[in-house]
Symmetry: C2
Subunit: 212 residues, 2 copies
């Protein structure tokens, strides 16, 4: 919400700078936490003077809010990969693939999200109780339908979802630990492929679906 009307120019200075600031902020919030993230550091990473950051965003909290909302949007988009029309094997496979892709492409966002939840979700509590709950319940009932129809083994759908969320996001949130145990090197393309395969194999077999 700018103070005055935004020009409809597609790449206005305004939206360009906001984007740069938000990307810098995502990284800084992920690495230092909300309280540890200084506006000065965000400005430095963005390559702007601090006062300029405050010209575009009134408060640090407003920046944080925007970052968290962005992450939620990306998460919700990925959530649509869990397409129940496909049947359990395909739906779960594609969802896992998508979530691993996200862990790789948006590690900072994942960390900010994790920290937000760990601190009691002060900003996105509403979304948890709204969209996320709705989405989970919807997917849950489909999973129960598959179980009732003998298409997969019985399991509490919530636990299955948590298992997918945790295993995939772990590769973002604990990436530092994983890299350390990998000889200090980040995962290669083929290692990321192996991640997908391992997770899909265990979870699919784990609920009675033959993988590949």
């Amino acid at each position: 919400m700018p103070a005055k009307a935004i020009p409809f120019r597609k790449f206005s200075k305004r939206s360009q700078n906001q984007k740069v600031i938000l990307e810098a902020a995502e990284k800084v919030f992920a690495e230092a936490g909300f309280a540890g993230a200084t506006t000065q550091l965000i400005a430095d990473v963005a390559g702007l003077p601090k006062a300029n950051v405050h010209y575009y965003f009134k408060t640090k909290e407003e920046i944080y809010r925007r970052v968290v909302y962005n992450i939620f949007d990306i998460w919700m988009e990925a959530a649509s990969a869990f397409d129940t029309a496909l049947g359990p094997k395909e739906a779960l496979s594609r969802y896992i693939d998508k979530k691993v892709d996200l862990a790789r492409s948006h590690p900072y966002g994942s960390k900010v999200w994790a920290a937000e939840i760990m601190h009691g979700a002060p900003i996105i509590q509403d979304y948890l109780e709204g969209q996320l709950l709705e989405w989970s319940n919807d997917r849950g009932t489909h999973i129960e339908r598959w179980i009732a129809g003998g298409e997969m083994d019985p399991i509490d759908p919530a636990h299955l979802l948590y298992m997918i969320w945790s295993t995939t996001q772990h590769y973002a949130d604990f990436g530092h630990q994983i890299n350390t145990l990998n000889g200090g090197k980040p995962y290669s393309d083929s290692q990321w492929q192996a991640v997908k395969k391992s997770i899909k194999t265990v979870i699919l077999k784990g609920v009675g679906l033959s993988p590949d």
Copy 2:
């Protein structure tokens, strides 16, 4: 490390107060992050004046260090539950049980640990490269032996370990989200039992071991 010698009295005022402070600090660090945790708040939660906290611990960082080391010790103790002499089914089952117990009994510690890793492990990097790497490699070779001996399906041992870590710790680190999706209520005893069962079932079946 006290400035002078510690009296050998088992429950000296010193060790009592340190314990109270460290427990308070663990909670505050978990909920607010390192930078967001104020010594004043730690003192308030501990029920002591701030200056008293600084009498026992020189700096906030020293308190944080102690908290993180405590967590690592608890983690390592749990790690011994992965007893390779028992064979894959029992070893994995007991380890999962133990880790879920830990997620329930030490949620704050788990969060502090997660945040420490997410911020690049500034304090415990040495442990990651030392004890944790050693432990992981040791368990990894045993898992590979089981696989070679046909006792379980092939899987990259690292991914199996990450799967256990992530699924179990998720119930601590994302407890707020889980409670929200559980109607705002914390898990009951029987729900925690179900967590263990779900995780064990999926992972054991997922690597070709019949559960229960």
